[in-house]
Assembly symmetry: none
Amino acid sequence: MKTDTPAAGAGQPCATARRGRPRSEAAEQAIFTAVEDLMAGGTTLSELTIEGIATAAGVGKATIYRRWPNKEALLVDVVSRLEVPMPESTGGSARDELVAMIDYMRRRGLAKRTRWVLKAAFGQMHSLPELHAAYHDRVVKPRREAALDLVQRAIDEGVLRADLDLDLLGDLLLGPILYRSILWEDSDLEDPELARKMVDALLDGLAPRPAAP
Amino acid sequence: MKTDTPAAGAGQPCATARRGRPRSEAAEQAIFTAVEDLMAGGTTLSELTIEGIATAAGVGKATIYRRWPNKEALLVDVVSRLEVPMPESTGGSARDELVAMIDYMRRRGLAKRTRWVLKAAFGQMHSLPELHAAYHDRVVKPRREAALDLVQRAIDEGVLRADLDLDLLGDLLLGPILYRSILWEDSDLEDPELARKMVDALLDGLAPRPAAP
Amino acid sequence: MKTDTPAAGAGQPCATARRGRPRSEAAEQAIFTAVEDLMAGGTTLSELTIEGIATAAGVGKATIYRRWPNKEALLVDVVSRLEVPMPESTGGSARDELVAMIDYMRRRGLAKRTRWVLKAAFGQMHSLPELHAAYHDRVVKPRREAALDLVQRAIDEGVLRADLDLDLLGDLLLGPILYRSILWEDSDLEDPELARKMVDALLDGLAPRPAAP
Amino acid sequence: MKTDTPAAGAGQPCATARRGRPRSEAAEQAIFTAVEDLMAGGTTLSELTIEGIATAAGVGKATIYRRWPNKEALLVDVVSRLEVPMPESTGGSARDELVAMIDYMRRRGLAKRTRWVLKAAFGQMHSLPELHAAYHDRVVKPRREAALDLVQRAIDEGVLRADLDLDLLGDLLLGPILYRSILWEDSDLEDPELARKMVDALLDGLAPRPAAP
DNA sequence: CGATAACCGAGACGGTACGTCGAGTCTTGGC
DNA sequence: GCCAAGACTCGACGTACCGTCTCGGTTATCG
């Protein structure tokens, strides 16, 4: 997803020639890099200051405030940038793709560079409703829709039951892995078979099966 | 959970009578009430200042700092006070108790006065690492242990499969409801049958069953 | 006083035709007018910003900086432009011309459009040392020289005593009216006879004369 | 003149016990000293920043802003503090006292530590009308009144003519020395006989006297 | 019962970061 | 090469809180 102007989700190409010096692409890049470096370097969110970012990026504070109204808005964009796209459909079976999607989320939760983003996304976001909404629109909703599309396909292919609510199915499948990603430590995500185990268990059911006849 | 002395988990009973004026119980109560009121009134964690709390409580700042070393410590206590205990075991079937536990979490997510705690716990708390850790130790972990005890009992009773990892079972059962509590809107929790539907679906499995022979 | 090129006292006539678009006379005029309007409108020197001038003049900041290196230099030119020349010698008696000179200063102190210059000259300019120095060289000094020339002529004509220091005489004559112009309110300058009264009193002496024999 | 609270000219002793920690006398002193040191050390008024003062005084910015609303207000107080009282009446002849008063102003204009104050007083003051008024009330007016009292006494003693306007006499006597103090360089004030010369010239008159019969 | 000690509210203290504004410079597209 | 517009870095502005520290005053226990 390309987003020319970082602040607005729906960037209008702005055919009418804008006047004045254009915003520096380099400065923007430097700001993003500075935030990522600081966070990757152990700075906590509450220690992360605009002044610190500006200094680290070699940029004036005004250059930051020209682009984002406050720290949170900047973080939303940093987060959006870091969120890598979900894997394309492999064309495999719906069951395999469910495993792939959950495994992608597991790996996303492990990625060192983006892990703090995930935590922050479910964190600071709530402080600023409109920004939380923006993040929701740009990151959460598309993913959930993709996930629900996949769930629907699984139903169509007979991999999932058709008698259950679509939302319920989605939450039952995604809730556990997201819960682990956000709340628990990395160690809980390290098992490479985790996604498959989850799908297997969910599809087969958690109750013991009577012995097959 | 004992919380006699608010400052620390391990309160010294202080049998040796201390001299001087004792700390005012009323001031303490006013502080707690002020924080709860502010948070319930829409204040976010990052907007919540010690000065604001002191003013709202009609209390001097020093009176707060005399009891807690910093904002995080105060919040840990506020949160601990609000978290109501999980329901006692009803002695019913393990399946019913699983439903009861999940339903308790659903209702907890709906409770107006404490909802901010839940959201903050998974959200804003990440920016206050000590608060997050303390909350985890004092609230999350005991509950998870209680939940896992229940899961183990369900396994023993033959309600849940014995061939699955205990942690995995816990996450598959609790992840979806917590995910909904934290991330989505209240409307997603309003269905009183939600807990039962989840347990039914999880136990029976999400895959279609072949027609019974 | 020549002020052909506004940027510096010593303007190069630039006979060699310079290439490119010539500087806009209109822009320059707009800048001068904007400064005068702003100052006449109550803006103080410290409130007077280059950005404000540029906006008021409908001009880019660079257009200002292309002509003057800084705010002080611009103000020197604005002030120089406003200072109207002293009246030519009327060829009358030295005493009449002294009265005329002092009366000119009185009227100058009353002129609405330029009064701020006078106040600023003795006041706010001290905070902008270069402006103050330049104003001194280009406005104050020539006038003082003209005044001292007149004083010398008065001595030669026997109107003023020859046994006094020239500078002292100048200050005794000019000090009072300038003092009033700068420090006191306009009302103190409204008496049209003020200049004559001053000269009469100064020449006759402030001490009572013994009754003429 | 003692002024307990520096901000207000007419300090009410505040019999009603004020609560909270009282303002630090030491901090106030440090601020005054810092300003005086900076100015004496060559800092110009426009280079004088609140942050610089705070740093030099080892004081937080808020401690300054708690006392004065802005830089100018602070300067008014600094200036008022530095203005030394006029010399007491010596009981000598009115003519000698006139000389003494003018000589006091000459020396004041020479005093290194306070010279900048004089310049600033007639400078920045105009920018902020109400502060200019305050300075006028607390410094200028009392002095002018003292001067006019002296002039009146001189009239009564027959040292000055009775047929001239009191204000006019005051300006003719004080204008020249103030004019020199404010506008010209130090060199013009160095002659220790200057005050006497001025009074002599003014009283005797600037016009040549016919030879006494 | 008076001394002593720890509490209380209020609010000033030295700091740090905030978000804004202006200075003086640079970079667009257009004339 | 000038023009308007507006971005750039830099640094000061005045505000808000932090966590600490006096103030005058209150309420306990101890001697």
